[in-house]
Protein backbone atom coordinates (compact mmCIF):
# COMPACT_ATOMS: atom_id res chain seq x y z
CA UNK A 1 0.00 0.00 0.00
CA UNK A 2 1.49 3.35 -0.98
CA UNK A 3 1.87 6.22 1.42
CA UNK A 4 0.78 8.72 -1.20
CA UNK A 5 -2.87 8.68 -0.20
CA UNK A 6 -4.38 8.87 3.28
CA UNK A 7 -6.15 5.90 4.88
CA UNK A 8 -9.50 7.68 4.88
CA UNK A 9 -10.32 10.64 2.67
CA UNK A 10 -13.53 12.62 2.60
CA UNK A 11 -13.79 15.23 -0.13
CA UNK A 12 -16.60 17.77 -0.47
CA UNK A 13 -18.97 15.37 1.29
CA UNK A 14 -22.55 16.55 1.58
CA UNK A 15 -25.39 14.70 3.27
CA UNK A 16 -29.02 15.78 3.21
CA UNK A 17 -32.07 14.28 4.79
CA UNK A 18 -35.78 15.03 4.88
CA UNK A 19 -36.87 16.21 8.33
CA UNK A 20 -40.10 15.19 10.04
CA UNK A 21 -41.79 18.37 8.81
CA UNK A 22 -40.95 17.40 5.24
CA UNK A 23 -38.31 19.95 4.37
CA UNK A 24 -34.81 19.11 3.28
CA UNK A 25 -32.02 19.70 5.73
CA UNK A 26 -28.32 19.67 5.14
CA UNK A 27 -26.72 17.38 7.72
CA UNK A 28 -23.20 17.81 6.40
CA UNK A 29 -21.97 20.50 4.10
CA UNK A 30 -18.87 20.39 1.87
CA UNK A 31 -16.80 18.43 4.31
CA UNK A 32 -13.15 17.56 3.72
CA UNK A 33 -11.14 15.37 6.07
CA UNK A 34 -8.10 13.15 5.74
CA UNK A 35 -7.10 10.52 8.26
CA UNK A 36 -3.73 8.79 8.16
CA UNK A 37 -3.19 5.09 8.60
CA UNK A 38 -2.78 4.14 12.26
CA UNK A 39 -4.05 7.48 13.50
CA UNK A 40 -6.59 8.04 16.30
CA UNK A 41 -8.94 10.86 15.41
CA UNK A 42 -11.73 12.01 17.70
CA UNK A 43 -14.82 13.76 16.39
CA UNK A 44 -16.50 16.03 18.92
CA UNK A 45 -19.28 18.56 18.72
CA UNK A 46 -22.73 19.46 20.00
CA UNK A 47 -25.68 17.26 19.08
CA UNK A 48 -26.91 17.75 15.55
CA UNK A 49 -23.46 18.54 14.16
CA UNK A 50 -23.42 15.37 12.09
CA UNK A 51 -20.58 13.51 13.82
CA UNK A 52 -22.53 10.25 13.82
CA UNK A 53 -23.48 10.85 10.18
CA UNK A 54 -19.80 11.16 9.22
CA UNK A 55 -18.84 7.93 10.94
CA UNK A 56 -21.80 6.15 9.32
CA UNK A 57 -20.69 7.44 5.92
CA UNK A 58 -17.13 6.23 6.50
CA UNK A 59 -18.34 2.84 7.75
CA UNK A 60 -20.59 2.46 4.70
CA UNK A 61 -23.93 2.42 6.55
CA UNK A 62 -25.01 5.58 4.72
CA UNK A 63 -24.25 7.06 1.34
CA UNK A 64 -23.25 10.69 0.71
CA UNK A 65 -25.55 12.98 -1.25
CA UNK A 66 -22.53 14.32 -3.09
CA UNK A 67 -18.77 14.23 -2.73
CA UNK A 68 -16.71 11.12 -2.08
CA UNK A 69 -15.69 8.94 0.83
CA UNK A 70 -12.61 6.81 0.17
CA UNK A 71 -10.74 4.29 2.26
CA UNK A 72 -7.38 3.01 0.95
CA UNK A 73 -8.02 5.03 -2.21
CA UNK A 74 -11.23 3.14 -3.04
CA UNK A 75 -14.71 4.62 -2.68
CA UNK A 76 -16.71 3.17 0.23
CA UNK A 77 -19.62 1.21 -1.23
CA UNK A 78 -21.00 -0.44 1.92
CA UNK A 79 -20.05 -2.00 5.24
CA UNK A 80 -16.76 -3.88 5.10
CA UNK A 81 -15.31 -6.47 7.53
CA UNK A 82 -12.02 -4.60 7.34
CA UNK A 83 -13.69 -1.51 8.88
CA UNK A 84 -15.57 -2.47 12.01
CA UNK A 85 -18.02 -0.19 13.79
CA UNK A 86 -18.39 -0.33 17.56
CA UNK A 87 -21.76 0.92 18.78
CA UNK A 88 -22.77 2.64 21.99
CA UNK A 89 -25.34 -0.09 22.68
CA UNK A 90 -22.76 -2.83 21.95
CA UNK A 91 -24.83 -4.78 19.39
CA UNK A 92 -24.03 -8.06 21.14
CA UNK A 93 -26.21 -11.07 20.40
CA UNK A 94 -27.90 -12.04 23.69
CA UNK A 95 -28.40 -15.68 22.67
CA UNK A 96 -24.69 -16.18 22.12
CA UNK A 97 -22.10 -16.49 24.86
CA UNK A 98 -19.20 -14.05 25.07
CA UNK A 99 -17.06 -16.46 23.06
CA UNK A 100 -19.93 -17.04 20.60
CA UNK A 101 -20.23 -13.31 20.03
CA UNK A 102 -16.52 -12.95 19.38
CA UNK A 103 -16.68 -15.93 17.01
CA UNK A 104 -19.46 -14.34 14.94
CA UNK A 105 -17.23 -12.24 12.69
CA UNK A 106 -14.82 -15.11 12.17
CA UNK A 107 -17.70 -17.44 11.24
CA UNK A 108 -19.00 -14.83 8.79
CA UNK A 109 -15.55 -14.84 7.20
CA UNK A 110 -15.74 -18.62 6.82
CA UNK A 111 -12.67 -19.30 8.97
CA UNK A 112 -12.30 -22.93 10.11
CA UNK A 113 -13.68 -23.60 13.63
CA UNK A 114 -10.30 -24.44 15.17
CA UNK A 115 -8.56 -21.34 13.88
CA UNK A 116 -11.60 -19.18 14.68
CA UNK A 117 -11.62 -20.28 18.29
CA UNK A 118 -7.87 -19.58 18.61
CA UNK A 119 -8.33 -16.08 17.23
CA UNK A 120 -11.39 -15.45 19.40
CA UNK A 121 -9.52 -16.50 22.55
CA UNK A 122 -6.62 -14.27 21.58
CA UNK A 123 -8.98 -11.31 21.20
CA UNK A 124 -10.65 -12.08 24.53
CA UNK A 125 -7.24 -12.20 26.16
CA UNK A 126 -6.46 -8.77 24.74
CA UNK A 127 -9.52 -7.28 26.48
CA UNK A 128 -9.05 -9.42 29.62
CA UNK A 129 -12.27 -11.40 29.37
CA UNK A 130 -11.07 -14.98 28.93
CA UNK A 131 -12.63 -16.02 32.24
CA UNK A 132 -16.06 -14.70 31.15
CA UNK A 133 -16.09 -16.54 27.82
CA UNK A 134 -19.04 -18.81 28.66
CA UNK A 135 -21.25 -16.07 30.09
CA UNK A 136 -24.18 -14.53 28.27
CA UNK A 137 -24.22 -10.75 27.68
CA UNK A 138 -27.04 -10.19 30.22
CA UNK A 139 -24.69 -11.43 32.95
CA UNK A 140 -22.09 -8.74 32.16
CA UNK A 141 -21.71 -5.10 33.19
CA UNK A 142 -21.84 -2.37 30.54
CA UNK A 143 -18.08 -2.02 30.52
CA UNK A 144 -17.59 -5.76 30.03
CA UNK A 145 -20.15 -5.78 27.23
CA UNK A 146 -18.27 -3.06 25.40
CA UNK A 147 -15.03 -4.98 25.87
CA UNK A 148 -16.70 -8.01 24.28
CA UNK A 149 -17.73 -5.93 21.30
CA UNK A 150 -14.18 -4.59 21.02
CA UNK A 151 -12.87 -8.16 21.16
CA UNK A 152 -15.36 -9.19 18.48
CA UNK A 153 -14.02 -6.40 16.27
CA UNK A 154 -10.32 -7.14 16.99
CA UNK A 155 -10.80 -10.85 16.25
CA UNK A 156 -11.26 -10.13 12.54
CA UNK A 157 -8.15 -7.88 12.55
CA UNK A 158 -9.70 -4.83 10.91
CA UNK A 159 -7.50 -2.00 9.69
CA UNK A 160 -10.05 0.60 10.83
CA UNK A 161 -12.15 0.79 13.99
CA UNK A 162 -15.08 3.17 13.98
CA UNK A 163 -16.34 3.92 17.46
CA UNK A 164 -19.62 5.79 17.85
CA UNK A 165 -19.76 7.14 21.42
CA UNK A 166 -18.74 3.69 22.66
CA UNK A 167 -18.24 4.66 26.31
CA UNK A 168 -21.05 7.21 26.64
CA UNK A 169 -23.38 4.86 28.51
CA UNK A 170 -20.75 3.80 31.07
CA UNK A 171 -20.02 5.21 34.49
CA UNK A 172 -17.05 7.57 34.86
CA UNK A 173 -14.57 5.08 36.33
CA UNK A 174 -15.30 2.39 33.79
CA UNK A 175 -15.01 5.01 31.06
CA UNK A 176 -11.55 6.12 32.17
CA UNK A 177 -10.43 2.53 32.47
CA UNK A 178 -11.67 1.62 28.99
CA UNK A 179 -10.00 4.69 27.49
CA UNK A 180 -6.68 3.44 28.85
CA UNK A 181 -7.43 -0.09 27.64
CA UNK A 182 -8.25 1.20 24.18
CA UNK A 183 -4.97 3.13 24.00
CA UNK A 184 -3.04 0.05 25.12
CA UNK A 185 -4.71 -2.04 22.38
CA UNK A 186 -4.15 0.69 19.81
CA UNK A 187 -0.45 0.86 20.66
CA UNK A 188 -0.21 -2.90 20.29
CA UNK A 189 -2.24 -3.35 17.09
CA UNK A 190 -2.08 0.09 15.50
CA UNK A 191 -5.45 0.16 13.77
CA UNK A 192 -6.79 3.47 12.45
CA UNK A 193 -9.40 4.63 14.95
CA UNK A 194 -12.15 7.15 14.34
CA UNK A 195 -13.81 7.89 17.64
CA UNK A 196 -17.01 9.93 18.03
CA UNK A 197 -17.66 11.40 21.46
CA UNK A 198 -19.35 14.35 23.13
CA UNK A 199 -16.89 14.22 26.02
CA UNK A 200 -14.07 16.73 25.43
CA UNK A 201 -11.79 15.14 28.05
CA UNK A 202 -12.20 11.81 26.36
CA UNK A 203 -11.30 13.38 23.01
CA UNK A 204 -8.10 14.91 24.41
CA UNK A 205 -7.16 11.71 26.24
CA UNK A 206 -7.46 9.60 23.11
CA UNK A 207 -7.04 11.70 19.99
CA UNK A 208 -3.85 12.51 18.12
CA UNK A 209 -6.14 14.95 16.41
CA UNK A 210 -9.47 16.26 17.63
CA UNK A 211 -11.96 17.39 15.02
CA UNK A 212 -14.42 19.89 16.44
CA UNK A 213 -17.65 20.08 14.51
CA UNK A 214 -20.37 22.73 14.36
CA UNK A 215 -24.05 22.29 13.52
CA UNK A 216 -26.53 23.92 11.06
CA UNK A 217 -25.22 22.77 8.67
CA UNK A 218 -22.82 20.13 10.01
CA UNK A 219 -19.26 21.18 9.26
CA UNK A 220 -15.73 21.09 10.65
CA UNK A 221 -15.03 24.09 12.85
CA UNK A 222 -11.48 23.30 13.79
CA UNK A 223 -8.95 20.46 13.74
CA UNK A 224 -6.68 20.44 16.74
CA UNK A 225 -3.39 18.54 16.95
CA UNK A 226 -3.00 17.19 20.45
CA UNK A 227 0.76 17.06 20.75
CA UNK A 228 0.94 15.03 23.93
CA UNK A 229 2.67 11.69 24.25
CA UNK A 230 0.85 8.59 25.46
CA UNK A 231 -0.05 7.66 28.12
CA UNK A 232 -1.54 11.06 28.82
CA UNK A 233 -1.82 12.29 32.33
CA UNK A 234 -5.25 13.84 32.66
CA UNK A 235 -4.07 16.08 35.49
CA UNK A 236 -1.00 17.44 33.68
CA UNK A 237 -0.78 21.16 32.82
CA UNK A 238 -0.36 20.60 29.05
CA UNK A 239 -3.47 18.46 29.08
CA UNK A 240 -5.30 21.30 30.83
CA UNK A 241 -4.21 23.87 28.26
CA UNK A 242 -5.47 21.72 25.35
CA UNK A 243 -8.61 21.15 27.31
CA UNK A 244 -9.07 24.89 27.88
CA UNK A 245 -8.54 25.66 24.21
CA UNK A 246 -11.04 23.03 23.11
CA UNK A 247 -13.59 24.12 25.71
CA UNK A 248 -13.41 27.73 24.57
CA UNK A 249 -13.85 26.77 20.95
CA UNK A 250 -16.68 24.43 21.91
CA UNK A 251 -18.49 27.19 23.80
CA UNK A 252 -18.17 29.40 20.76
CA UNK A 253 -19.72 26.70 18.56
CA UNK A 254 -22.41 26.06 21.10
CA UNK A 255 -23.29 29.76 21.34
CA UNK A 256 -23.42 30.05 17.57
CA UNK A 257 -25.71 27.02 17.48
CA UNK A 258 -28.03 28.54 20.08
CA UNK A 259 -28.04 31.92 18.28
CA UNK A 260 -28.91 30.07 15.10
CA UNK A 261 -31.92 28.50 16.80
CA UNK A 262 -33.06 31.88 18.15
CA UNK A 263 -32.63 33.37 14.72
CA UNK A 264 -34.85 30.68 13.23
CA UNK A 265 -37.61 31.46 15.70
Amino acid sequence: MSDSFPKIKLSAVEKRFISACGDEQIALSQLDLEIESGEIVCLVGPSGCGKTTIINLMAGFEKPYSGSVQIDGKPVSGPDPDHIMIFQDYGLYPWRTVLGNVLFGLQAKGISPGEASDKAMEALELVGLVSAKDKHPHELSGGMKQRVSIARALAVEPSVLFMDEPFAALDAFTRLHLQDELLRIWQEKRPTIVFVTHDLDEAITLGQRVVLMAPNPGRIQRVMDVKLSYPRERTESNFASFRKELFEEFHLVHRQALDGVEYQI
Partner: protein
Protein backbone atom coordinates in the same frame (compact mmCIF):
# COMPACT_ATOMS: atom_id res chain seq x y z
CA UNK B 1 -46.05 -17.57 57.59
CA UNK B 2 -43.66 -17.20 54.67
CA UNK B 3 -44.65 -16.42 51.11
CA UNK B 4 -44.08 -19.98 49.90
CA UNK B 5 -46.65 -21.27 52.34
CA UNK B 6 -49.06 -18.55 51.25
CA UNK B 7 -48.66 -19.73 47.67
CA UNK B 8 -50.02 -23.12 48.72
CA UNK B 9 -52.51 -22.08 51.37
CA UNK B 10 -54.25 -19.27 49.50
CA UNK B 11 -55.15 -21.27 46.37
CA UNK B 12 -56.28 -24.15 48.60
CA UNK B 13 -58.50 -21.74 50.48
CA UNK B 14 -60.00 -20.39 47.25
CA UNK B 15 -60.61 -23.95 46.04
CA UNK B 16 -62.31 -24.92 49.27
CA UNK B 17 -64.58 -21.86 49.23
CA UNK B 18 -65.44 -22.50 45.58
CA UNK B 19 -66.38 -26.14 46.27
CA UNK B 20 -68.37 -25.10 49.35
CA UNK B 21 -70.35 -22.50 47.37
CA UNK B 22 -70.93 -25.06 44.64
CA UNK B 23 -72.12 -27.62 47.19
CA UNK B 24 -74.44 -25.03 48.73
CA UNK B 25 -75.86 -23.98 45.34
CA UNK B 26 -76.28 -27.61 44.27
CA UNK B 27 -78.47 -28.18 47.32
CA UNK B 28 -81.00 -25.67 45.97
CA UNK B 29 -81.35 -27.24 42.51
CA UNK B 30 -82.15 -30.67 41.13
CA UNK B 31 -79.14 -32.81 40.11
CA UNK B 32 -80.19 -32.36 36.46
CA UNK B 33 -79.76 -28.61 36.80
CA UNK B 34 -76.64 -28.53 38.95
CA UNK B 35 -75.06 -31.68 40.32
CA UNK B 36 -72.95 -31.53 43.49
CA UNK B 37 -69.14 -31.72 43.31
CA UNK B 38 -69.15 -35.29 44.55
CA UNK B 39 -71.54 -36.33 41.77
CA UNK B 40 -69.16 -34.85 39.20
CA UNK B 41 -66.24 -36.80 40.67
CA UNK B 42 -68.39 -39.92 40.55
CA UNK B 43 -69.20 -39.18 36.90
CA UNK B 44 -65.50 -38.87 36.12
CA UNK B 45 -64.87 -42.21 37.83
CA UNK B 46 -67.75 -43.81 35.94
CA UNK B 47 -66.49 -42.49 32.58
CA UNK B 48 -62.99 -43.61 33.43
CA UNK B 49 -64.12 -47.08 34.58
CA UNK B 50 -66.07 -47.85 31.44
CA UNK B 51 -63.10 -46.73 29.36
CA UNK B 52 -64.85 -44.01 27.35
CA UNK B 53 -63.00 -41.14 28.97
CA UNK B 54 -59.44 -42.11 27.99
CA UNK B 55 -60.43 -42.58 24.37
CA UNK B 56 -62.02 -39.12 24.30
CA UNK B 57 -59.05 -37.50 25.99
CA UNK B 58 -56.64 -39.30 23.66
CA UNK B 59 -58.42 -38.24 20.47
CA UNK B 60 -58.78 -34.67 21.74
CA UNK B 61 -55.07 -34.45 22.49
CA UNK B 62 -54.17 -35.92 19.11
CA UNK B 63 -56.42 -33.42 17.30
CA UNK B 64 -55.14 -30.56 19.39
CA UNK B 65 -51.46 -31.35 18.92
CA UNK B 66 -51.67 -32.13 15.22
CA UNK B 67 -53.65 -28.96 14.44
CA UNK B 68 -51.39 -26.88 16.67
CA UNK B 69 -48.20 -28.24 15.15
CA UNK B 70 -49.59 -27.76 11.66
CA UNK B 71 -50.40 -24.13 12.48
CA UNK B 72 -46.91 -23.58 13.91
CA UNK B 73 -45.19 -25.21 10.95
CA UNK B 74 -47.14 -23.01 8.50
CA UNK B 75 -47.31 -19.76 10.48
CA UNK B 76 -43.67 -19.44 11.61
CA UNK B 77 -42.05 -19.66 8.15
CA UNK B 78 -44.77 -17.43 6.69
CA UNK B 79 -44.32 -14.94 9.53
CA UNK B 80 -40.52 -14.95 9.12
CA UNK B 81 -40.97 -14.29 5.42
CA UNK B 82 -43.58 -11.53 5.82
CA UNK B 83 -41.62 -9.92 8.65
CA UNK B 84 -38.52 -9.77 6.49
CA UNK B 85 -40.06 -8.50 3.26
CA UNK B 86 -41.93 -5.27 3.91
CA UNK B 87 -43.53 -5.10 0.47
CA UNK B 88 -45.03 -8.58 0.71
CA UNK B 89 -46.27 -7.75 4.17
CA UNK B 90 -47.85 -4.51 2.93
CA UNK B 91 -49.60 -6.49 0.19
CA UNK B 92 -50.91 -9.28 2.41
CA UNK B 93 -51.57 -7.41 5.65
CA UNK B 94 -55.07 -6.10 4.68
CA UNK B 95 -56.17 -9.66 3.92
CA UNK B 96 -54.86 -10.89 7.28
CA UNK B 97 -56.58 -8.03 9.07
CA UNK B 98 -59.94 -8.92 7.50
CA UNK B 99 -59.67 -12.68 8.01
CA UNK B 100 -58.35 -12.54 11.56
CA UNK B 101 -61.47 -11.18 13.34
CA UNK B 102 -63.60 -13.97 11.85
CA UNK B 103 -64.08 -16.48 14.65
CA UNK B 104 -62.76 -19.92 13.72
CA UNK B 105 -66.25 -21.23 14.62
CA UNK B 106 -67.76 -19.18 11.79
CA UNK B 107 -65.68 -21.30 9.43
CA UNK B 108 -67.44 -24.42 10.63
CA UNK B 109 -70.18 -24.70 7.96
CA UNK B 110 -67.60 -24.32 5.23
CA UNK B 111 -65.22 -26.71 6.97
CA UNK B 112 -67.92 -29.41 6.99
CA UNK B 113 -68.75 -28.74 3.33
CA UNK B 114 -65.10 -29.02 2.36
CA UNK B 115 -63.84 -31.74 4.68
CA UNK B 116 -66.98 -33.63 5.73
CA UNK B 117 -67.70 -34.86 9.23
CA UNK B 118 -64.86 -36.30 11.30
CA UNK B 119 -61.43 -35.16 12.40
CA UNK B 120 -60.80 -32.68 9.62
CA UNK B 121 -63.27 -29.85 10.49
CA UNK B 122 -62.20 -29.90 14.16
CA UNK B 123 -58.54 -29.85 13.18
CA UNK B 124 -59.23 -27.03 10.73
CA UNK B 125 -60.86 -24.91 13.42
CA UNK B 126 -58.07 -25.52 15.94
CA UNK B 127 -55.57 -24.75 13.19
CA UNK B 128 -57.19 -21.38 12.53
CA UNK B 129 -57.31 -20.58 16.24
CA UNK B 130 -53.57 -21.20 16.61
CA UNK B 131 -52.51 -19.84 13.23
CA UNK B 132 -53.17 -16.11 13.62
CA UNK B 133 -51.50 -15.54 17.01
CA UNK B 134 -48.37 -17.37 15.83
CA UNK B 135 -48.32 -15.58 12.48
CA UNK B 136 -48.82 -12.08 13.89
CA UNK B 137 -46.35 -12.41 16.75
CA UNK B 138 -43.76 -13.89 14.38
CA UNK B 139 -44.16 -10.96 11.99
CA UNK B 140 -43.84 -8.39 14.74
CA UNK B 141 -40.93 -10.28 16.36
CA UNK B 142 -38.99 -10.21 13.08
CA UNK B 143 -39.78 -6.56 12.50
CA UNK B 144 -38.77 -5.78 16.08
CA UNK B 145 -35.26 -7.22 15.69
CA UNK B 146 -32.99 -4.33 16.73
CA UNK B 147 -31.43 -2.54 13.77
CA UNK B 148 -27.99 -2.80 15.37
CA UNK B 149 -28.05 -6.63 15.14
CA UNK B 150 -28.46 -6.38 11.36
CA UNK B 151 -25.83 -3.64 11.11
CA UNK B 152 -23.31 -5.79 12.99
CA UNK B 153 -24.04 -8.77 10.72
CA UNK B 154 -23.61 -6.61 7.59
CA UNK B 155 -20.45 -5.07 8.99
CA UNK B 156 -18.82 -8.46 9.53
CA UNK B 157 -19.77 -9.45 6.02
CA UNK B 158 -22.33 -12.11 6.98
CA UNK B 159 -24.26 -13.26 3.91
CA UNK B 160 -28.04 -12.98 3.73
CA UNK B 161 -28.41 -16.66 4.65
CA UNK B 162 -26.25 -16.34 7.76
CA UNK B 163 -27.93 -13.06 8.71
CA UNK B 164 -31.34 -14.66 8.44
CA UNK B 165 -30.67 -18.00 10.13
CA UNK B 166 -28.14 -16.94 12.74
CA UNK B 167 -29.23 -13.39 13.58
CA UNK B 168 -32.85 -12.70 12.65
CA UNK B 169 -34.33 -16.07 13.59
CA UNK B 170 -32.65 -16.31 17.02
CA UNK B 171 -33.31 -12.61 17.71
CA UNK B 172 -37.00 -13.09 16.92
CA UNK B 173 -37.27 -16.34 18.85
CA UNK B 174 -38.35 -14.98 22.26
CA UNK B 175 -41.12 -13.00 20.53
CA UNK B 176 -42.21 -16.07 18.59
CA UNK B 177 -42.35 -18.03 21.87
CA UNK B 178 -44.93 -15.54 23.16
CA UNK B 179 -47.08 -16.28 20.11
CA UNK B 180 -46.72 -20.03 20.64
CA UNK B 181 -47.82 -19.53 24.21
CA UNK B 182 -50.92 -17.49 23.30
CA UNK B 183 -51.79 -19.96 20.55
CA UNK B 184 -51.86 -22.88 23.00
CA UNK B 185 -54.61 -21.10 24.90
CA UNK B 186 -56.75 -20.14 21.92
CA UNK B 187 -56.30 -23.52 20.25
CA UNK B 188 -57.34 -25.43 23.37
CA UNK B 189 -60.45 -23.26 23.77
CA UNK B 190 -61.46 -23.92 20.17
CA UNK B 191 -60.80 -27.63 20.46
CA UNK B 192 -64.05 -28.04 22.39
CA UNK B 193 -65.99 -25.88 19.95
CA UNK B 194 -64.66 -27.87 17.01
CA UNK B 195 -65.53 -31.18 18.60
CA UNK B 196 -68.96 -30.07 19.73
CA UNK B 197 -69.91 -29.11 16.21
CA UNK B 198 -68.85 -31.95 13.99
CA UNK B 199 -66.92 -34.72 15.64
CA UNK B 200 -68.10 -38.09 16.93
CA UNK B 201 -65.42 -38.32 19.62
CA UNK B 202 -63.28 -36.21 21.91
CA UNK B 203 -64.00 -34.19 25.05
CA UNK B 204 -66.21 -31.70 23.19
CA UNK B 205 -68.28 -34.51 21.75
CA UNK B 206 -68.46 -36.12 25.19
CA UNK B 207 -70.14 -32.98 26.51
CA UNK B 208 -72.65 -32.85 23.65
CA UNK B 209 -73.37 -36.55 24.09
CA UNK B 210 -73.94 -36.07 27.83
CA UNK B 211 -76.30 -33.19 27.10
CA UNK B 212 -78.38 -35.43 24.79
CA UNK B 213 -78.90 -37.82 27.71
CA UNK B 214 -79.31 -34.96 30.22
CA UNK B 215 -76.31 -36.23 32.16
CA UNK B 216 -75.43 -32.87 33.70
CA UNK B 217 -72.86 -34.54 35.95
CA UNK B 218 -71.00 -35.78 32.87
CA UNK B 219 -71.24 -32.33 31.24
CA UNK B 220 -69.53 -30.80 34.25
CA UNK B 221 -67.06 -33.68 34.36
CA UNK B 222 -66.09 -32.88 30.77
CA UNK B 223 -65.77 -29.17 31.55
CA UNK B 224 -63.64 -29.84 34.60
CA UNK B 225 -61.32 -32.14 32.65
CA UNK B 226 -60.94 -29.58 29.86
CA UNK B 227 -59.96 -26.98 32.42
CA UNK B 228 -57.45 -29.23 34.19
CA UNK B 229 -55.88 -30.49 30.94
CA UNK B 230 -55.68 -26.92 29.64
CA UNK B 231 -53.85 -25.92 32.80
CA UNK B 232 -51.41 -28.81 32.47
CA UNK B 233 -50.65 -27.98 28.83
CA UNK B 234 -50.26 -24.30 29.65
CA UNK B 235 -47.87 -25.05 32.51
CA UNK B 236 -45.86 -27.40 30.32
CA UNK B 237 -45.57 -24.68 27.72
CA UNK B 238 -44.41 -22.21 30.33
CA UNK B 239 -41.72 -24.57 31.59
CA UNK B 240 -40.58 -25.11 28.01
CA UNK B 241 -40.49 -21.35 27.46
CA UNK B 242 -38.36 -20.82 30.57
CA UNK B 243 -35.96 -23.55 29.52
CA UNK B 244 -35.62 -21.91 26.11
CA UNK B 245 -35.16 -18.52 27.77
CA UNK B 246 -32.27 -19.84 29.85
CA UNK B 247 -30.71 -21.39 26.78
CA UNK B 248 -31.10 -18.07 24.96
CA UNK B 249 -29.57 -16.14 27.80
CA UNK B 250 -32.55 -13.84 28.23
CA UNK B 251 -34.34 -15.25 31.29
CA UNK B 252 -33.20 -14.10 34.69
Amino acid sequence: MNSKAFKIVLPLLTGTIFVALWQFAAGRYTPEQLPAPVDVLKAIKELSDNGVLWGHIGISLIRFSSAYLLAVVVAIPLGLFLGRFFRCHAAIDPLIQVLRPISPIAWFPLAVLWFGIGNAPAIFIIFLAAFYPVLLTTISAVRGVPEVYIKVANNFGAGSRMTFLRVIVPAAFPGIMVGLHIAVGTAWIHLVAGEMLGAQSGLGYMIVDARNFLRTDQILAGMLLIGVLGLIIYRGMKAFEQAIGRRWGVAS
